[in-house]
């Protein structure tokens, strides 16, 4: 007999019980949702030819029949599959640890990778190296999943057809003499930002071989602003390295330095080291954050000022006026905003107060800005403040980083392509069709603005090395599968300039090619599987003692200590910086509800989109909004009210011809 279980009927009087807030409020939307989620009679499978009952009968009968042959009574035959060729040092069931590093755009992150049976399974920080101290970030942790991603590129493609590595090598050998004939004037490279001494060395060789070739670097999340400002203020080949463990006061202008997403774990660690009070003598640092949205750094701030991103220059300006002496050369911008809402004023006063408490000569205050998205003016003003506070050389070091002056931006490359000068374009990594800025160049005949895809189609031979077969690959003549960093030899510098080795854990799973291998191939060097190219670079750093011993030490520790990080004298070129700032200064417009400012920011989970296929990272909630597998347009409640938008609405945002579908979260 069929028994129907039902919830007890609701009492007409007395207490009413409910199972969710929705049920309690009992709105029409909730009833609609309830009907959609649990349609009446779904359990009976009404309307279909087979009822639920007969379906279960049939399934039960077939299960019973399947057992008639007694097939499950046999002893299952298992196989043991030893390696055909043993893996060196491998002991079955025991972990092997290798030191390596994950190359990042701002500097490599030193790692120790656990391998079992010759397969890497876990990534951890290298505890011996100060840039990691045993810690990693989410991207490093999740990078192991990318290695085994079934969607990664597994084949060589020529004009849409699968081909082989040999064919590609033949092609390279064919074009090499053509390139050499005119000094490589038709040759161009578009690569990602990376601090790799071996790549730089091979690039130098290429430039010797093809003196007229072009080399462009592009990262959607690294604007040239910071680099430009640093070169003006402190000279060529310089880079700022913060020493937050020495700072008593840290002021961040739109910089989310506590988010380790850029692989800068050392900064977080250094900052946190001054939050720990062990004895009465220890003092804590103080963090002031000026930002437009909630970030991890903002969440840790002692004083947080929320202002529109476009107003941050004003704030920088005001801070600078508090401290700077040579007022004349710098733009006089902005007493306007000091009379803003009370909270701004308060934070500003608090900052000023803290700064005045200590004698000026004391080491350890650091207004600093790493926000790579900040415009040049903010960068310059921040440097000026640091210089005025005598932070440069104490809490901010100016480190010498070799930078090839012939590096172009994607904009320069675009104009070269537009002029029809590029015949062979190597795109190594990145995904410019997806993430290059719109309207890079203008067609001369039609005066239409050209996007990267249009430009790429103008180049006869585009050779793309990519980890996925993506939009850029589809518009390229050649697609070469890229090797994962756990599959390739390499070397890199950390963000503070330390020399680290990248060693493979496993042979390329799908025959991928590393950037260094490719450059070597273009140079016509012999095909190498081992670390010869890296060894050559390492030899040029003049390791002390026996080379083989030093090399083994490098592979064991993952880094070399004999390569010195040279600091430059802390001289700030105030005249040049002030001049540039003066010329570039324009008072920002205040955003209004009808013309709000739109800030595109890095995702905490998929970075600039490169980890879009990584399920672990997608699954990781955004630390602020808690969103997973999603993104949202975050706006203030007031703006949402003004535009009559509610949480969960789908909205279209038009930014100069660019449509963004964004689910909005308040």
């Amino acid at each position: 007999m069929k028994r129907v279980f039902e919830h007890p009927p609701e009492a007409a009087t007395g207490k009413r019980y409910w199972r969710s807030v929705g049920e309690l409020s009992d709105t029409p939307e909730f009833r609609q949702w309830l009907e959609r989620e649990f349609p009446a009679g779904a359990a009976e499978m009404d309307g279909s030819e087979v009822s639920r009952r007969s379906f279960l009968k049939l399934m039960g009968a077939s299960m019973a029949l399947a057992g008639l042959g007694m097939s499950s009574c046999r002893r299952p035959e298992n196989h043991l599959l030893p390696f055909s060729k043993g893996v060196e040092w491998n002991i079955p069931g025991k972990a092997l640890y290798y030191a390596t590093a994950m190359p990042r755009r701002t500097g490599a992150l030193p790692l120790v990778v656990t391998t079992i049976d010759g397969r890497p399974i876990k990534v951890d920080g290298n505890p011996l190296h100060p840039a990691s101290g045993g810690a990693t970030d989410a991207f490093a942790q999740a990078s192991i999943l990318d290695l085994y991603d079934p969607a990664r590129s597994k084949r060589f493609v020529r004009e849409g057809k699968t081909t082989t590595r040999e064919e590609f090598e033949k092609y390279l050998a064919e074009i090499r003499p053509q390139l050499g004939a005119d000094g490589g004037s038709g040759l161009a490279f578009l690569v990602e930002e990376a601090l790799s001494p071996t790549r730089d060395r091979l690039r130098g060789q290429l430039e010797k071989m093809f003196p007229r070739m072009r080399w462009a670097q592009y990262e959607p999340l690294l604007s040239e602003a910071q680099n430009f400002a640093t070169q003006i203020s402190f000279g060529d080949n310089s880079r700022l390295v913060p020493r937050l463990e020495r700072a008593d006061v840290v002021v961040s202008l739109g910089s989310d330095f506590l988010d380790c997403g850029e692989g800068d774990i050392a900064s977080s660690r250094a900052w946190a080291s001054r939050r720990r009070v062990g004895s009465a003598k220890d003092s804590m640092n103080r963090l002031y954050v000026v930002e437009n949205r909630y970030t991890l750094t903002g969440a840790m701030a002692d004083h947080r000022l929320r202002i529109p991103a476009s107003q941050i220059p004003l704030c920088a300006c005001a801070r600078r006026q508090d401290r700077g002496r040579d007022q004349r050369r710098w733009p006089r911008c902005c007493d306007r905003h000091t009379s803003g809402p009370a909270e701004r004023h308060e934070v500003r006063r608090a900052m000023a107060h803290r700064m005045r408490q200590r004698p000026r000569s004391e080491v350890g205050r650091q207004p600093h800005s790493f926000g790579p998205q900040q415009p040049v003016v903010v960068q310059l003003m921040t440097y000026a403040m640091n210089a005025a506070l005598k932070n440069v050389g104490t809490t901010v070091l100016i480190r010498e980083f070799p930078r090839n002056a012939r590096t172009n931006s994607i904009l320069q490359l675009a104009s070269e392509i537009n002029a029809g000068r590029i015949k062979q374009l190597f795109i190594i990594g990145g995904d410019p069709v997806y993430n290059a800025p719109r309207g890079l160049a203008e067609d001369r005949a039609t005066k239409q603005s050209l996007n990267w895809i249009d430009l790429q189609k103008k180049v006869p031979d585009v050779i793309r090395v990519g980890y996925y077969e993506d939009e850029t690959s589809k518009a390229a003549k050649w697609h070469i599968p890229a090797a994962h960093y756990l599959e390739s030899w390499g070397d890199a510098l950390t963000s503070e300039g330390g020399y680290v080795a990248i060693q493979p854990m496993i042979m390329p799973l799908f025959g991928g090619v590393s950037e260094i291998e490719l450059l070597n191939g273009i140079l016509g060097g012999p095909k190498l599987e081992g670390p010869e190219l890296i060894q050559e670079t390492f030899r040029s750093t003049a390791p002390p003692g026996d080379f083989n011993a030093a090399w083994s030490q490098l592979l064991r520790d993952g880094f070399a200590t004999h390569v010195p990080a040279r600091d430059k004298p802390p001289t700030f070129n105030s005249n040049a910086a002030g001049g540039v700032a003066h010329n570039l200064w324009s008072a920002p417009q205040n955003p209004t509800p009808d013309s709000p400012e739109i800030v595109l920011v890095r995702s905490y989970s998929v970075d600039d989109g490169r980890y879009i296929n990584n399920g672990w990272l997608q699954e990781m909630p955004d630390p602020i909004t808690k969103l997973t597998w999603d993104n949202a347009a975050v706006m203030s409640p007031q703006l949402a009210k003004h535009h009559k938008i509610e949480t969960g609405d789908l909205i279209d945002i038009t930014v100069t011809e660019t449509m963004l579908d964004a689910q909005k979260n308040r």
Partner: protein, 241 residues
């Protein structure tokens, strides 16, 4: 009133009782005998893709177990040799033997030789080879006289009761560590004087072992058990971790 039940039904309850009793006993006995590893596992001798004769390699050529099972004393898992190990000799010895074809194919293609598994420890049981062989439990105790096997078969039941037998009385199997891989070793081979000089003897031994003509397995085992302070785990999580 007529008899409700016919006459023959008088004995029926007794018959049912007896038959039922016999059936239950037979079923229990059959299960006891046929459904335990002693019957289901011992003697299992699958056909291997490549007939590796242990007797020739060990008896005639004098190879040590660890030449092929090279990590048995350092890892929990005792490995099968990789093709490279086979080819170290067979690239020169017997290099055209048709029986070695699977090995040569594996060497050429890189695909592994698909050996059929004989001894299978369930996934819920943790077993560490290294911990056993480094403390005087010979291969022989669990795998039998492998050195004499032309084709390897399952020699011991490997049931939980069998494990516990040894864990309760390890002295029945312990032997000097240098004899662990000597599958022909007999307790009688031990020179009592040398043994006592090296390992001593149990505290409560009634007689001086070094004066004895021969030592028994129990005497050797007890000595080593005390000497090495062997206390095999008898709690569940010793193996079912």
């Amino acid at each position: 009133m007529a008899n409700f039940f016919p006459r023959w039904s008088n004995w029926l309850p007794l018959k049912i009782l007896v038959c039922g009793g016999v059936t239950v006993t037979a079923l229990t006995a059959a299960t006891w005998y046929y459904a335990t590893p002693k019957y289901t596992r011992v003697g299992y001798e699958p056909i291997q893709p490549n007939p590796f004769p242990h007797d020739i390699h060990v008896q005639q050529l004098g190879m040590d177990c660890r030449y092929c099972h090279s990590f048995v004393d350092v890892a929990a898992h005792s490995n099968l040799p990789d093709t490279q190990t086979c080819m170290a000799c067979h690239s020169q010895v017997q290099k055209d033997n048709p029986k070695l074809e699977p090995v040569r194919v594996s060497w050429k293609t890189g695909a592994p030789v698909e050996w059929v598994q004989i001894h299978r420890t369930p996934d819920f049981t943790y077993y560490n080879h290294a911990a056993h062989v480094n403390r005087g439990i010979s291969c022989h105790s669990c795998h039998g006289q492998v050195n004499e096997m032309r084709v390897v078969h399952h020699d011991q039941p490997h049931s939980m009761a069998w494990c516990l037998d040894c864990h309760r009385h390890p002295e029945n199997h312990l032997r000097p560590t240098d004899q662990v891989y000597n599958l022909d070793w007999k307790p009688g081979d031990v020179n009592p004087a040398e043994f006592v000089a090296k390992y001593g003897q149990p505290k409560d031994a009634k007689e001086d072992f070094s004066k004895k003509q021969k030592l028994t397995q129990q005497e050797i085992g007890q000595t080593l058990k005390e000497r090495w302070n062997i206390q095999p785990p008898l709690n569940c999580q010793g193996c079912h971790r």
